[in-house]
C-alpha cells in the first residue's frame, strides 16, 4: 500500500477515505480533520484558552497534542475517579504526557475532595457507575473551566463515540437528547462553551495518532465499562462500517446536517431558568444541583460522615 499523498510506504489504511497514508501524511490528516471540525462548527477562535479534559486515554491525549500543535493555549484537567488501579494508572499517563511536553495539568481527586469514589458512590446512590461518573465529570469539568476562566472546555469524544450515542438516542427516540447532541454547546448561564474537536476522527485513528506520535496512553479499559450498551453500539456500528465504509460518518454528519435541527425546538422550550446551586454555586434548575445531591447520597453512609457528626 502506498501513501495517497507521497506514494511512500503506508502505515495505515483508512477505508472511509478510500486511502492509505504514511506516518507524516497521516499525522497531517489528523490535524487537518481537527482544524476542519473547529472551523466548520466555530468551536474555537485563535488565541483562546482551552481546558482539555484529560483521562490518560488515547482520545484526550491526542486531542491535547493536536490542539497545542495547532497553536491553541491548552491546559489539561485530570479528574481522579477512584476506580482502583485503573485510576492510578491513567493518572500516571496523563502526568507523564504533560511533563514530557511541558504542559500544565490541573488535577482534582474526587475521593479526596468530595469524599466518595465512583464505584462506592454509584452503589450508595443506586445509580449505574457510568451514570454517576458522567454526572461527576460534567459537573467538575464545568467548574474547573469556569474557575480557571477558560474560554472553552474540550473533550475527546470521537466519531465512534458520537455515532454510538446517536444510535442509542435514536433506538429509543430520545428526542430531547437528540436535540442536544451537538459538537458545540455555546456558553450560557455560567456553563462554559463545550467543544468536541475529534468528531471527524475515528477511534482507530486517534489510537494510531498516539502510536505514531509516541504518546503512551492507557490501553486497559475502565473496569466499569464492561458490558455496557455504549460498547455494544460501537461494535454494531463497526460491523456495519466494515460492510459499508463511511457509514458511521454519514450517520452522524447526516444527522447534524439534515435532522438535528428538527429536535431543537423541544430543547429550547424545556430550557428552564437557572439559578446558583444552594451548596456549590453551580448553575442548576433544581435548588440543589444533581452533583451535590449525588455527593450527599454517596457520602451519607461513609464512616467518616458519622464521626463528623460526633457519634461514639
Amino acid at each position: 500500500m502506498k501513501c495517497r499523498v507521497c506514494r511512500g510506504p503506508a502505515v495505515i489504511d483508512i477505508r472511509r477515505h478510500n486511502a492509505n497514508f504514511c506516518r507524516e501524511h497521516f499525522l497531517r490528516l489528523c490535524r487537518d480533520q481537527v482544524e476542519k471540525a473547529i472551523r466548520r462548527f466555530g468551536m474555537l477562535q485563535p488565541g483562546e484558552r482551552v481546558l482539555v479534559a484529560v483521562s490518560g486515554g488515547k482520545d484526550s491525549l491526542a486531542l491535547w497534542d493536536i490542539l497545542v500543535d495547532l497553536g491553541y493555549s491548552a491546559d489539561g484537567f485530570y479528574l481522579g475517579l477512584g476506580i482502583g488501579d485503573y485510576s492510578d494508572e491513567s493518572a500516571g499517563y496523563a502526568h507523564r504526557y504533560a511533563e514530557s511536553r511541558n504542559l500544565t495539568l490541573h488535577t482534582v481527586d474526587l475521593p479526596a475532595t468530595h469524599g466518595f469514589d465512583i464505584p462506592g458512590g454509584a452503589r450508595a446512590a443506586k445509580r449505574a457507575p457510568c451514570s454517576a461518573c458522567g454526572l461527576s465529570k460534567r459537573h467538575l469539568f464545568d467548574e474547573a473551566a469556569r474557575r480557571g476562566g477558560y474560554d472553552a472546555l474540550a473533550t475527546g469524544h470521537n466519531l465512534d463515540d458520537e455515532a454510538a450515542v446517536l444510535m442509542g438516542n435514536t433506538l429509543r427516540w430520545q428526542t430531547e437528547y437528540l436535540g442536544r447532541q451537538l459538537p458545540v454547546l455555546e456558553a450560557r448561564d455560567g456553563f462554559p462553551r463545550k467543544v468536541k474537536p475529534l468528531v471527524r476522527l475515528s477511534e482507530r485513528e486517534t489510537a494510531a495518532y498516539c502510536l505514531l506520535r509516541g504518546i503512551d496512553y492507557i490501553v486497559e479499559e475502565c473496569p466499569m465499562a464492561v458490558g455496557n450498551k455504549h460498547l455494544a453500539y460501537k461494535a454494531a456500528l463497526n460491523d456495519i462500517e466494515v460492510q459499508s465504509p463511511g457509514a458511521k460518518h454519514d450517520f452522524y454528519f447526516g444527522f447534524l446536517e439534515r435532522a438535528s435541527e428538527r429536535f431543537r425546538a423541544e430543547v429550547e422550550q424545556d430550557r428552564a431558568a437557572l439559578a446558583a446551586c444552594e451548596r456549590c454555586g453551580s448553575p442548576t434548575d433544581a435548588g440543589v444541583c444533581a452533583f451535590c445531591r449525588l455527593t450527599e447520597r454517596a457520602t451519607a453512609r461513609a464512616p467518616v460522615h458519622f464521626s463528623d457528626r460526633g457519634s461514639p
Partner: protein, 66 residues
C-alpha cells in the same frame, strides 16, 4: 509468530507468514476496531507479517457513556 492481544492481555502463537488482514480475519476481529503493531511499528492491512514477528493486536474501542 507470537501475537499479543489486549483487554485482557493474552498471548497466542499463530503460524506465519500471513498478511495483517488475514490474521485479523482468522481471529475473527474487526479491522475497524483494531490496529496491528509488528515489531513495534504500526502496519497497514496488506503488510505480510513474517513467521518470527512479535505482533500486537490492539483493540481501540473504549467504553463508558462519558
Amino acid at each position: 509468530m507470537r501475537v499479543v492481544l489486549r483487554n485482557p492481555t493474552r498471548e497466542i502463537d499463530v503460524d506465519g507468514p500471513m498478511t495483517v488482514h488475514t490474521l485479523l480475519q482468522r481471529l475473527d476481529l474487526n479491522r475497524e476496531s483494531h490496529l496491528v503493531i509488528c515489531d513495534g511499528e504500526l502496519v497497514a492491512g496488506d503488510r505480510t507479517l513474517p513467521s518470527g514477528a512479535e505482533v500486537e493486536i490492539r483493540s481501540v474501542i473504549s467504553g463508558g457513556s462519558r
